[in-house]
Symmetry: C2
Amino acid sequence: MKIGYLGPEGTFTHAAVEAIFPHIRNVPYHTIPQCMDAVRDGEVELAVVPLENALEGSVNLTIDYLIHECNLPIVGEIIAPIEQHLLVHPSQLDDWMHVERIYSHSHAIAQCHKFLHRHLKHATYEYVTSTSAAAKYVSEHPEEKIAAIGNRLAAKQYGLAIAKENIHDYDYNHTRFIVLHRERDLLPVTDKEDGFKTTLMVMLPKDQAGALHQVLSAFAWRKLNLTKIESRPAKTGLGNYFFIIDIDQKMDDVLIPGAIAELEALGCTVQILGSYPYYTVKKTSLV
Amino acid sequence: MKIGYLGPEGTFTHAAVEAIFPHIRNVPYHTIPQCMDAVRDGEVELAVVPLENALEGSVNLTIDYLIHECNLPIVGEIIAPIEQHLLVHPSQLDDWMHVERIYSHSHAIAQCHKFLHRHLKHATYEYVTSTSAAAKYVSEHPEEKIAAIGNRLAAKQYGLAIAKENIHDYDYNHTRFIVLHRERDLLPVTDKEDGFKTTLMVMLPKDQAGALHQVLSAFAWRKLNLTKIESRPAKTGLGNYFFIIDIDQKMDDVLIPGAIAELEALGCTVQILGSYPYYTVKKTSLV
């Protein structure tokens, strides 16, 4: 069995995969669509891609590609803390406060604003496509006065030293990753899950005032608790949306099917994107 | 009076500003935050920035900066069609089918996928920060076999020829731009508006199942029609959101204040982001 993930090696997606599936071979893919296509085409059995970050919001490309291009069931979710460290070439470890340029993804740089402002105010920023690409660049240029912002796995992967640990501004930053499979199969995870979720896509009937209120009523009177509702453009015109709704329980025989039947009777299109266990990565277990 | 907009010159934001405020001096800004700061700091009286595209969804940076960093009232909205053209240096007009590289914003290239696949399959893509930056690059490199994808204004601004008109895949693509002002003032627009909207930010009370359903009930039983509801992370932890809600009418003395009072009684935090006229740009009026 193989798991594809959004690479390159040393990304937060890679760290999440290693934490939850330590014994399964994993393969990096260059983009989210390539990673999802690899499951559809049978190159790998599972794919792990980011879905939502607590600070930046949803990864629209993941949601849009899942709905419009590559319809794979969600079979699991991984919630992982985002801990950013300042990484330098080992030869520069004692001199980290004099680095002149800092490489990272724009989100990672934004997440460490306070530390950078306080300790490295003179440094300039170079935005690259991922935190691990930044770590790779720093490892390949030991003569330059530069640092990367990234995770512990990237430091290990590219032989960098951690000059300063946990330099992110907010302690509660997490990212949700979804696990996709070609069929609605059980996950090969031995540890106990932290809970279950069911995710639906709901398209409202056209031009009907109050339709979303009716949709939520179908869940509310059944006491089905929604942990998330998010709109995305349906790509059929400005003002046409579909909704992604997360229910905090496993698919059952009565309540969720009853709500779906009611929504369909109201003229909605409903699709079950998955009913799956979720796993929370503890702060220390991120390799 | 001066209007700041998300530049550089020749962007779709620039075209929207020229269509609705033809007689007011306009000033390009490099980023959305810089454009909004310029209004707050009094450099310009108004700012126009993109809020939402029919294909790509919301411009998160605009919403987040407005809520978390720079609280300015919305005083107007411009809805403009997005028409993409293939632009080349005039010396290459007869030879456009042999261009080897195409420059544009990644969204613009994605929006013309079918045309590019059919007519320029051999060409490679170079992603730049805006359609007008692409047009500028093409104008400065007349000897290279390259083209840009952008609007009519960018062609005019940088002296390029339109090799192929309307190469976008979907005819209904529009972008919504908001007009910001330091105070809740009337807009200096003489033409008649196409309608009015009121936009609210609603933060739900913590850990209360069904709270969003209650919020929507407050609007539904008053027959206040919502044209949009969107969630964004509150930046206080995974699963904490605020909602942006658009109501398709002007602020009144009874219904909307009544709904807001009810929401506050439920423990919600409500902020009126603006109550404003909206203007639709016709396809032909985009300079």
